[in-house]
């Protein structure tokens, strides 16, 4: 499978502190990567670097074969940020207006919304079974409903890679399972590459095929089942805990 994201020797400085050090990995088309690590390990930082939201001080990143700074095909990447990270909750926008924002990456100036765009949004909302929310105010929805709307915004441009930052935190257990099954379906049936930051280790082991475990640097990158036999296995867990947590050796 072709490599669609390649990071080589990435380092990031926050002031004098090194948030990430010498991080290298390559993600192939169709991978389902679980990005895990302890609090403050740099998971969100790493994702934001890939998306060009934070500058990196050393190393190189290639997205779909292009250096990240020259990459312009943002419609190939769908992003679901951490819940309530930057969103203005008083914003008077409908679900329809929010999901349309996911199509802006395909548009050239002056950006105009067409009937075709409206149809694409309708189809996406129907696929996620939230079409009835289309005209509702985003700020009036429950946390789980808002999360589904933001997922629709990430999916609407039919991206080749989807990046999720802790998507399950706002979801109840039932919705969480449904959510993981949905992204697994996207991965298996449509070949969409997935990068998923999660603390939900009990779930990720069942769905992801690759684990990128970091703690400011790469601790493990590779097959998720090899994590517990890795030479650099993280000292936070005992071996037996790893077996249980990642659900690999039932």
């Amino acid at each position: 499978m072709p490599i669609i994201i390649e990071a080589k020797h990435i380092s990031v400085l926050y002031g004098q502190t090194e948030a990430l050090s010498d991080v290298s990995f390559a993600i192939e088309r169709g991978d389902f990567v679980g990005l895990a690590g302890p609090n403050g390990a740099g998971k969100t930082t790493l994702v934001k670097i890939l998306l060009g939201l934070i500058p990196f001080s050393k190393g190189t990143i290639e997205l779909f074969g292009k250096p990240q700074r020259q990459f312009r095909d943002w419609n190939k990447i769908g992003y679901l940020p951490q819940k309530d990270s930057t969103i203005n909750t008083l914003f008077p926008a409908t679900v329809n207006e929010i999901v349309l924002l996911g199509l802006l990456s395909q548009k050239k100036w002056p950006k105009r919304i067409t009937v075709r765009d409206e149809n694409i949004v309708r189809t996406t909302l129907q696929e996620l079974e939230i079409h009835d929310l289309k005209k509702r105010m985003f700020s009036e929805l429950s946390g789980g409903q808002q999360q589904k709307v933001l997922l629709a915004r990430a999916l609407v441009s039919k991206p080749e890679i989807l990046i999720f930052d802790e998507p399950s935190t706002a979801l109840d257990p039932g919705s969480r399972k449904e959510f993981f099954l949905l992204i697994q379906k996207l991965n298996k049936e449509k070949g969409t590459t997935i990068i998923l930051i999660t603390h939900d280790t009990g779930y990720i082991g069942q769905y992801a095929n690759t684990l990128l475990y970091i703690d400011r640097t790469v601790i493990h990158f590779g097959d998720i089942s090899e994590y517990c036999t890795s030479q650099k296995t993280h000292p936070s867990f005992e071996k037996i805990d790893d077996h249980i947590i990642w659900h690999q050796h039932n």
Partner: protein
């Protein structure tokens, strides 16, 4: 005097025409500013406008001509200071605003001749608006509204979630510069309508009124525009018949609409 005769006065027609255009522009920009928690940039820039008008009067140049470029530069300065100098945005507004006022006061003191003219700009006087000012207000308002139309989705996306907007290729830094430059032009235009002291209210009140009632962003823009234009028309009418200051009356009508919207929302 009846309403029919009142509408035949050329100065009333000019005030209605220019006031309506500036009102729509202020309401549209105000909505983006309020939602981005940048409401006070209008207040800061109106203070800079005071200094700029003083410069114009000091050098004998028509004040609004010189105020537009100076306030635009000041708006960029606010952005630059808050981005690069370890200063929060509100502090940057405070710095630029204070320098604007201080410069104006010093120039007024040194000249000793135009204090009356300068202070007449503090509270505006739309009923004394000249034909040139009407043309300037309408043309610049039209340009600002066109820019909002052309960049509507970029402005919308960057206002809802700036970080996500970047991931869809929206150049949020350029959009921020555009928004502050448009605000600078609009503040200068609103100074002629409601004056330096009240121009920020002209930006903020229609937007916050709309936010109490709107169920979508487009509806919010519509309500803000309607409230703003109605406030100008009712304000001019009331100030003429009750013989009270026009700018202050327009702002009070705006405030009344806001109170009504609050009550309606609570019901």
């Amino acid at each position: 005097m009846d309403l029919f005769n009142f509408l035949h006065y050329t100065f009333i027609q000019k005030a209605f025409f220019a006031g309506s255009f500036v009102a729509i522009t202020c309401s549209a920009l105000g909505l983006f500013l309020v939602l981005r928690k940048m409401s006070l940039i209008g207040d800061g820039l109106s203070h800079v406008c005071f200094g700029a008008i003083a410069i114009g009067l000091f050098f004998g140049i028509y004040p609004l001509y010189i105020a537009i470029p100076i306030v635009m530069v000041a708006s960029l300065l606010i952005l630059k200071i808050s981005e690069n100098a370890r200063v929060y945005g509100d502090a940057a507004i405070g710095i630029v605003s204070a320098v604007g006022i201080a410069g104006g006061v010093i120039l007024a003191s040194v000249s000793q001749g135009f204090n009356v003219d300068l202070f007449s700009y503090l509270f505006g006087n739309i009923l004394a608006i000249s034909t040139t000012e009407v043309i300037l207000s309408v043309c610049l308002s039209f340009i600002v509204l066109m820019m909002i139309c052309f960049f509507y989705w970029d402005l919308f996306s960057a206002t809802f979630d700036e970080e996500y907007a970047k991931t869809t290729g929206v150049r949020t830094q350029s959009i921020n510069i555009l928004l502050t430059l448009l605000t600078a032009v609009t503040v200068v235009l609103s100074v002629r309508i409601v004056g330096i002291m009240l121009s920020s209210a002209f930006l903020i009140l229609p937007a916050v009124t709309a936010l109490q009632l709107a169920k979508s962003f487009r509806i919010a823009l519509g309500i803000a525009g309607l409230v703003s234009v109605t406030s100008v028309l009712v304000g001019i009418l009331c100030s003429f018949f009750l013989d009270i200051p026009t700018g202050a009356t327009i702002v009070m009508v705006n405030a009344l609409f806001f109170c009504l919207a609050l009550v309606y929302r609570k019901l």
